[in-house]
Amino acid sequence: MVQKNKISDSTLVRDYIQGKEAALGVLIKRHQQRLYSFIYSKIQDRDITEDVFQDTFIKVIKTLKKGNYNEEGKFLPWVMRIGHNLVIDHFRKSNRMPTFKNTDEFDIFSVIGDGNLNAEKKLIQEQIYNDIREVVNELPEEQKEVLVMRMYKDMSFKEISENTGVSINTALGRMRYALINMRKLIEKHNIILVN
C-alpha cells in the first residue's frame, strides 16, 4: 500500500543539509533494514555488519555536511553504493577471496569469504570469478547495467528503472535477457562454475 504524506528522501536530505538533524534519524530508520540486510548478506557476520553499516552512514553524514551530495532523488542507491564499496574494502583488507556455494542452488554472486581455503581451491575460485567477470563483460551494455544494479547493488527494479530512465518492464526484460545470455555464453565457452 502506498503511504500517503510520506516525506520524500530528497526533502529529508535537503532538510538535513539545512541543519534539521531530526531528518537524519528518519532517513536511517527508513533505510536501515535494506542496507543492513544487504551488508549482512555479503559478510555473514553480525559484528562486522554493524561496523560496516555504521561506517556507511558516517560517510553519508560527512558527505552531506560538507555539501558534496549531488544525487538528489537517488538517496538510497547512493547509500547502497557506499555500503557496497565498504563491503569490498572489508574483503580486501581481510584478504579473503569470495567463495562459491557448491550446491544445486548455488549463488554465483556470493562474495562470502572463507579464510581456510587451500591454495588450490583459491586458484579455482579466482578462475571462477574471472570467468564470471568475463561473461558479464560480454553482455550488451544495457543488460550488464541492469544485472550489476540488481545483483551487486541489490537495487529493486523500481530503483533500476528510475536510475536508468527505462520502464520497470524494460528493466525486467533486460535482466531476463542478461541471464539467458550469460547461460549461453557459459555453454559456448564451456565454462564450469562449480568448485
Binding site: 543492513y36 540486510s37 553524514i61 541489490d154 547461460r183
Partner: protein, 47 residues
C-alpha cells in the same frame, strides 16, 4: 531450469542495533565542517 541464484539479500530482514543508530544520530549532531579560505574543510567534532 537451473536456478542461478538462491535468495535475494533483501529477503533477509535484519536491522542494526539501536545503539548504533543512536551513535550515528549523536555523531551527526556533534559534527561540524568549517570551510577555510583555501576551500578546504576542517572537521570539528564537538563531543
Amino acid at each position: 531450469m537451473m536456478q542461478i541464484y538462491s535468495k535475494k539479500p533483501s529477503e533477509i530482514q535484519m536491522k542494526p542495533k539501536e545503539n548504533t543508530v543512536q551513535f550515528l544520530i549523536n555523531f551527526s549532531k556533534s559534527l561540524t565542517f568549517v570551510k577555510t579560505k583555501s576551500e578546504d574543510f576542517i572537521e570539528l567534532n564537538l563531543n
